[in-house]
């Protein structure tokens, strides 16, 4: 199975400029770059962990940090320099969410397998002559958006990001095994934690991966309700990505058992993280927007004409209120969630697929540990339950008032990123308690 995603060049092209990183030192066998990480506060309010497990204020590696990394690697590629690169931080690194982990793994995999440049990300200390890497003396707790665990026992210990990936050269077969976290002899039971696959464009490819994914969740002890919900979501989003983006896509699922506070009690829950992304020139809302606003002939094909006029009048209201935080691009993302079903095999994103996604996030993302969003271009929409409540007619306003037409989304429901996502990326996180 090849892991190279179609249109990866778009990802590189859009993100290679303006890297803020500068080389701090050049050892005989490594370039060292110090990461420019962002300070973030971790909300531990409903996670049952020891108070001192992770510092409240930590340094986060985000998709914007990844943009810096892409800039450095692609610059070295341009210059024809193949010496390995270590991106380091003196403090423990926290990954902001699983999409960031997954996307970073992919970039490092691509750089090695296509450009022959090995790179990794690690905590470490350095001076002008030496670099001490991969030092985790106290097995610190690491948090990656939803999953908190000791670095050596959590799924991050199997991650392609960390140092072991770049220490020695490997052949392409071994590289793929490491990227997909499959058949790795030196990490026991790692296959129970994570399932990654690239779904190709063949008619049955998505169904085969989804079938494998179900088997993985069953083996990992996920309750039946969880398996059904996750399968429904993957079953909609993955085929959508392939059909709409006309490209292949990556699916990355991982499970972690966690303890959460619910009704003042500590309960065991299974957290399932689901990351899906594809690279394409087509953004989430662009095709639907084109039909509704720029082509009356196409708009007339859309089944629900009353919804088109509602969206057009909402647009009149929203565009008067555009600002630096809320723009036309956000509105384009928003319309995808307004239950407009294109007819006759039209992209299902606007219809059934998104409805299924929303029903599931409404049901299974009710704690602070769920950080769900969809990212397309430079814009993201939060999908957590509190933002995605529908009004009586099924419109979603992404605000507390549940109002789409006469109210713009809450300021924290729309997000912007300097990282540009060509295509569509989902970062979803569900939790399932024993009661279901």
């Amino acid at each position: 199975m090849s892991a190279i995603l179609d249109n990866t060049e778009l990802l590189i092209q859009y993100n290679r400029k303006h890297s803020k990183l500068s080389q701090v030192t050049c050892l005989s066998d490594f370039f060292i770059y110090e990461l420019n990480l962002q300070k973030v506060n971790i909300d531990k309010s409903n996670i049952a962990i020891p108070e001192d497990a992770v510092e409240r204020e930590s340094n986060a590696f985000t998709l914007e940090s990844l943009k810096d990394v892409i800039g450095v690697i692609s610059n070295n590629k341009k210059k024809g320099v193949k010496k390995p690169i270590a991106f380091v931080s003196k403090k423990p690194i926290l990954f902001s969410d699983n999409l960031t982990v997954s996307m970073t793994e992919y970039v490092l995999y691509f750089a090695y397998s296509v450009w022959g440049i090995r790179a990794y990300i690690s905590q470490g200390t350095h001076d002008k002559k030496n670099f001490e890497f991969f030092t985790y003396p106290d097995k610190p707790f690491y948090h990656n958006g939803f999953c908190l665990g000791q670095i050596e026992s959590s799924f991050l210990s199997t991650s392609f990001i960390l140092g072991w990936n770049a220490l020695t050269e490997v052949n392409s077969n071994e590289l793929e095994k490491r990227f997909f976290v499959k058949d790795l002899e030196f990490i026991e039971a790692c296959s129970d934690l994570r399932y990654k696959a690239v779904i190709g464009k063949g008619p049955w490819d998505a169904s085969i991966v989804i079938s494998e994914c179900e088997a993985f969740l069953q083996k990992s002890g996920v309750p039946e309700t969880g398996i059904n919900a996750v399968m429904d979501v993957v079953g909609e989003l993955a085929p959508n990505a392939i059909e709409h983006g006309d490209t292949n896509c990556l699916v990355d699922v991982s499970c972690t058992e966690v303890e959460i506070y619910e009704d003042e009690q500590v309960k065991k829950a299974m957290n399932i993280s689901l990351v899906i992304f594809d690279f394409s020139e087509r953004l989430l809302g662009s095709a639907l927007y084109e039909k509704i606003f720029n082509n009356d002939q196409l708009a007339s094909y859309i089944h629900k004409q009353d919804r088109i006029s509602t969206i057009r009048s909402a647009h009149e209201f929203h565009k008067e209120r555009y600002s630096k935080d809320y723009s036309e691009e956000d509105f384009q993302n928003l319309i995808v969630f307004q239950k407009i079903t294109g007819r006759k095999g039209d992209r299902a994103d606007g219809g059934l697929g998104i409805s299924t996604l929303i029903q599931r996030v409404q049901k299974y993302t009710n704690t602070n540990m769920n950080y769900c969003y969809v990212l397309s271009g430079n814009k993201a929409l939060r999908l957590d339950a509190k933002y995605t409540g529908e009004d009586a007619e099924g419109y979603i306003g992404f605000n507390k008032e549940r109002c789409f037409v006469n109210k713009i989304p809450d300021f924290d429901a729309v997000m912007g990123s300097k990282f540009y996502m060509p295509g569509v990326a989902y970062n979803l996180c569900f939790n399932f308690t024993e009661a279901g």
Partner: protein
Amino acid sequence: MNRIEVDIPKEVTIVAGPIPGREAYKLCKDMIDIDDVNMLCFSEHVSRIIGSFFTGFFEELCKDMTTGEIKEHFCFDENMKCFESAKDAFEKYTQNY
């Protein structure tokens, strides 16, 4: 009643998305008799049908048939393992188109 065995590859236990729907339609379209009731049967290794499978399956037929006519002329074998999920996905399809 016109019984149609829908051919699904052995390694697929969950059938998902419109693309397999289109593919499955291609494989069995010659067996469909739109004047009769067609009973679709999926083999035992298929445990669930999810997502927009029927959007793809009925893409061609819905050019000439209304959703009501499709509902009248298609049904599922109640004994098959994926009966419940097939029924749900079919209902979701007919409600939305």
